[in-house]
Structure formats: C-alpha cells, structure tokens
C-alpha cells in the first residue's frame, strides 16, 4: 500500500481530474481526497473552474452560411 498524502494528490491532480489515472492510483487518490478537507476543497475548485471555462468558451453556433455550404457540397456532388 503506497502512501498518498496531500503532496501526491497535488502532483497527480491533473491526471486525476482528467480521468487519466489508472484504476489503482485513482482509488488511492479518491480515498485520500474523500478523507481530506483540504484536498476536497481544491478538487472542487478545479472542477468548478473547468465548468466555468467550458460554459464561457463553448456553445458557439455555426453560422447559417456554414450549414448552407455543407448542403451545397453534398448536393453538388453526383
């Protein structure tokens, strides 16, 4: 059983948040985070920050001209 402390969580936090930790590591990190208020606060902050970034930067609507160009491409090719 390896030692997961706050520093290990900090080192592996992107990998954890990105869902890229292998299962054993993920479980160890998760167990520490659940038990540690300090790490839980931090994880919560990074998750909410990412959600804000997504809300603010996604959701552009493709212009109608682009949809029309796609239609033309498909109807123009025999």
């Amino acid at each position: 059983m390896s030692e997961v402390d706050c520093n290990v969580v900090l080192e592996r936090l992107w990998v954890f948040l990105d869902g890229e930790a292998d299962e054993a590591l993920y479980r160890e990190l998760e167990a520490h985070i659940e038990a540690c208020l300090h790490c839980r606060n931090h994880v919560d902050f990074e998750r909410r920050l990412r959600a804000v970034i997504q809300v603010k930067c996604k959701g552009e609507q493709a212009p109608l001209a682009l949809r029309a160009a796609l239609d033309r491409l498909l109807s123009g090719s025999q």
Partner: protein
C-alpha cells in the same frame, strides 16, 4: 467562399446517396463544436468559418477511407487541426516561451487561498469563481500561445482523452501532457488578471453586495 465548393471538381463521381446521408449526419452533428474550436483557434469569425468549411471539404474527400465504427469526432478534429496547422497558424515557429513552470500548476487556487482581501470578504474560492464567471474567459483562452492553446481546447472544451489528443495532433502522449499543463498554467495566470479586472469593474458599478457574504 461558398461558391468555391460547388465549382470544385469533385473526386467522388460515384458517391451514393447513402454515403451522402451518412456524411451529413456525421458532420452536421459536430458543426457547432468544430466551429467553437475553430473560433478559439483562429480568434476570428471569418477565418473560423473558412477553417470549418475547409475541414468538411477535406473530410468529404477522404470519407471513403474513413472506417465506420471508428471515432468519427476524433477523425473530424484531426482534419480540423491539420488544416489549421497547415494554413491558419500565423507562424510555424513556436513563440519564444516564458516558462511559467515556477508559478505552479494551480495558480488560481493558490491565489484565492493566499488573498487576505478575499478571506476578509468571505469565501475566497467562491468570490474568485464568480469573478472568473464575469471575466472575458474566451479572450483569456485566446491569449494562450500555441501550441499550448490547441491542447487546452481539445482537453478542456472538447474533453478528448490524452490518447485521442495524441492521435489528433500526431504527437506522443507525453507531449500532450506537457503542452496541456503548460497551456493550463498560462490560462490560470491570465484568468487571474482577467478575474481581478472583472472584480474591479463590478465594484465600480456598485454591485459589491452581490458578492456572497
């Protein structure tokens, strides 16, 4: 711009209606996402529109080599990124980078924690997040230099896995991680300045009372 597509001598002379329908279903569903990413990459609506148009034109041309059942979204983004790198990136030379290694990976959280001002005002993380919400996050993201911005867009907006991003950009997974983390460090640094500005602007128009107690 649009006229170009119709007059192009198309290689698909025997394309079936079924191919067309399949292609349309595939691209139409990802058009908004492709356009959002193109806009964050090119920072310009006309260039983004051209880039997406270029993308589905190239996708259509190579549609026959596309295997049903493979990752269609990753395939489209790979074409988008290749077109962007080929034709839209202003310079192929990487910018001289100020290494931000020293600021740590979690600049914003560290700033929230150490800010006396936020602590006095209540919940520091809550206040900072609400200021980020008010800030021009799009502009901040668009200031992140390449090639780091592309990695952040693919991971944090489009939620591709490291492996998918490696495939899309044609680079090793280790390089994906280092670009992504550097891009995020840049973004956090920028967001701190943008959030502070948004905070001051809000204070000035007298909405301070909306900050949670």
């Amino acid at each position: 711009m649009g006229a170009l597509l119709v007059t192009l001598d198309h290689p698909h002379v025997t394309v079936s209606d079924e191919d067309r329908a399949r292609f349309e279903a595939l691209v139409a569903g990802h058009l908004d996402g492709l356009y959002s990413s193109a806009l964050r990459l090119t920072r310009n609506r006309t260039a983004a529109e051209d880039l997406v148009q270029d993308t589905f034109l190239k996708a259509w041309r190579s549609f026959r080599t596309f295997q049903a059942g493979t990752n269609a979204r990753a395939w489209l983004y790979k074409i988008l990124m290749n077109a962007y790198i080929d034709g839209y990136r202003r310079s192929s030379r990487l910018p001289e980078e100020v290494d931000q290694e020293d600021i740590g990976d979690f600049y914003l959280y560290a700033k929230a924690q150490e800010s006396e001002e936020y602590r006095k005002a209540g919940d520091p993380e809550e206040i900072l997040l609400s200021q980020v919400m008010d800030a021009d996050v799009k502009d901040a993201l668009e200031q992140v230099p390449e090639p780091f911005r592309a990695a952040v867009i693919l991971a944090d907006l489009e939620e591709f896995s490291y492996k998918e991003i490696a495939e899309i950009l044609g680079i090793p997974v280790g390089t994906v991680m280092s670009r992504l983390y550097r891009g995020r460090r840049h973004l956090q640094r920028l967001l701190w300045d943008y959030a502070r500005r948004a905070g001051y602007a809000r204070d000035e128009i007298g909405l301070r009372s909306q900050v949670p107690p």
